[in-house]
Symmetry: C2
Subunit: 409 residues, 2 copies
């Protein structure tokens, strides 16, 4: 039972993400790269916007022409022309001259600022009065103000959110290099587990974990590959594990909730070529009987069989490894929301607890109401809006205290 | 300019989601239903787990056999047999009898609780001592404890998260009814806008909005349908709008950032059959010049042309309408995280401000550092981790105060 020396803290396990590397890369159409991770620095091949652009509807001017202008002493400017959207102005502005311009329009040579239309009055077709001075570059975006040619605009390892997609498009990148989507093999084990489309006799239970874990893998940015249900038979499990290792980037075994099954899972993993058990037990609840092994370059997990435990371990541990395989260079900010605790909660020291909670609105605060059900009840996860984390060194939490909740989206 | 009477508060605009209805429904394989919205109540066709199931490795007993057991006065029980995983026990337990059982195993008739193996000692092959009493139903999940036959287990209108997918699987539903994915038409307008794969001459700018809005639509659970770029020409715009209205469930026009273009957008929308302008301006910043119309049963948006304004309005307004079309019965909890403000911030009363912020870790707190850039600079959105919302009735926020941040994922 060398395994018992491998019970680790959550922090130690999360540190092991460094033992694994991102999967390969591929070039994609920029629109298909949404929610992927950038695999090569994106460099600006040109300036953005590339010309001096107006941010307002109004008049392009040389700022110096407006200095000192006020309601009581307006500046008088003559109108040189009108700039149509998308056009290159075919005239230049001197001091004392202005040109009609719309938001997004290009400033003519000689202009370095825009006066908002609200601060002007048209005298006649050829002239305006200006009631407020502008500073140079006011109400304009300058040639390189968004990005300058040659500048790294998105570093590799960054998540491509809608704004990063927009920026790549703005710089003319129709294709970009991203990391591939990690393939995650999912294997259910246990003589009591039957396929979802079968009717269970007493004593049997449908394969919930393959379904909920598939969805979790998708949600965390991976591609689930299901290998079905394996009976409690070491040879069969070894053979399916080898198959999954050959075709995926991470493997999740689930089930094996009984001590006997856990022992043979460890035995099977230990006997795979170039495989080492890294973790045998994590000091979290639920989810303590979790196994992590490294097989070649591939992380393999033995997740608890209890549905809630498997889901919680996926959320708080496995996701970080999947993010590593996706190539994310910094952890995704964990989405936490603040809520007021509805009751006292006890907790064991030396263990990190994740308590399922319902969030309810109560006037101004969000209230977190703990769901204290068994970790075999999927109902408790369906009711839950989030998880309340209680640290290793906390004995318990008091009713009314403000707590951080990890949202279950 | 009747439009000026239609400037609305954010709350009023969000209330208008009620004017629109969810799109049609379709039956999907349960695994494909992840992140869809349930369109018909899901009812349990059977009990879950359907048998009395052990939550622990140990011994199945009749709880009364253990009453009064302690370290100093253990209860002595004779072993009737061993229950293999997934099997129906072929024996019954009387008082004073126990059966070896693993987590997930089915309790034999006559047993109503499980004693953890840690609280027992084997005397010989046929008998054990028990050092701790158990209550009836302790360490077991009873026949209907997760769900009882006939019970509604997931109500229509709920998002299918990984746990809802798992529950549907556990109850044997391989196919479920969900709302369809709303199709969202995206139209860019403006003489200055050119396709992303073209090289812009001075005065022109690539079509960033089609790309970032496509990604936002996908992120919010819709399917983007791009209709390309329309020049500043009312007839051309009207014709593309009609096409988009015929094939999609919501239409986004973007661009038209100048007053002139906005006016003709309103004119075009007003002249479509059975179309009414609902909102002409929202008291938010950035994003004030936003137009919302109803054309038949379809919401149509005139979004600001500035890239940042368009994205912010999508996040804080349009998403709620897309959720309505997806069939969500309650708003998705907006993901907010608490952070300490790095500087004083001024704000105008009567307007809701959304300030882009960078989040940095600083010992124990998260620090929100405002990015005060022009709303034409996509850079500011690429730097931003979130949006800080400042309410209509708040004059400003003080450095060091704790604020809620909407995360930009």
């Amino acid at each position: 039972m060398t395994g018992f020396f491998k019970v680790k803290s959550l922090g130690d396990v999360l540190g092991m993400t460094r033992l694994f590397s991102p999967v390969g890369m591929e070039e994609l159409h920029t629109l298909d790269a949404f929610s992927r991770v950038l695999a090569k620095d994106l460099v600006a091949g040109e300036n953005l916007p590339g010309f001096r652009r107006s941010c307002m509807d109004g008049y392009a001017v040389n700022a110096a022409s407006t200095f000192g202008a006020s309601e009581s002493g307006p500046a008088w400017l003559s109108i040189k022309g009108t700039i149509a959207m998308g056009d290159i102005p075919d005239f230049e502005l001197a001091r004392g001259e202005a040109a009609r311009i719309s938001t997004g329009g290009m400033l003519p040579a000689g202009a370095d600022a825009v006066v908002m239309v609200e601060h002007t009055e048209a005298i006649d077709e050829q002239s305006i009065e200006i009631y407020k001075s502008v500073a140079p570059l006011q109400h304009v975006i300058d040639v390189t103000e968004d990005f300058a040619k040659g500048q790294t605009v998105i570093e590799k390892g960054r998540l491509m959110r809608p704004q990063e997609i927009g920026l790549a498009a703005g710089l003319g990148h129709t294709r970009i290099w991203t990391y591939k989507v990690p393939r995650v093999g999912i294997i259910s084990t246990g003589d009591e587990v039957i396929p979802v489309d079968k009717s269970p006799e007493p004593g049997k239970i449908r394969d919930i974990n393959s379904y909920s874990l598939s969805a979790l893998v998708t949600q965390a940015g991976g591609e689930p590959v299901r290998y079905g249900i394996v009976k409690d038979d070491p040879d069969a499990l070894k053979s399916v594990c080898k198959k999954a290792l050959a075709h995926t980037d991470m493997v999740l075994l689930s089930g094996g909730s009984s001590v006997g099954t856990r022992d043979y899972t460890v035995e099977v993993l230990s006997n795979l070529p170039d495989t080492e058990i890294l973790v045998h037990g994590i000091s979290v609840s639920p989810g303590k009987p979790t196994i992590l092994a490294r097989s070649g370059h591939t992380p393999m997990w033995g997740l608890p069989g209890q549905v809630v435990s498997a889901m919680v371990v996926f959320q708080v541990v496995v996701t970080a490894f999947l993010h590593r395989l996706r190539g994310l260079s910094r952890p995704v900010l964990q989405v936490k929301t603040s809520a007021r605790l509805s009751r006292n909660l006890a907790s064991s020291q030396g263990r990190r607890d994740f308590i399922r909670v319902v969030l309810e609105e109560d006037g101004r605060d969000l209230v977190a109401r703990p769901i204290l059900g068994k970790s075999g009840l999927i109902r408790t996860m369906v009711q839950a809006d989030g998880l309340l984390e209680i640290g290793e060194h906390v004995e318990g939490l008091e009713k009314g205290s403000m707590v951080d909740i990890i949202l279950l989206k």
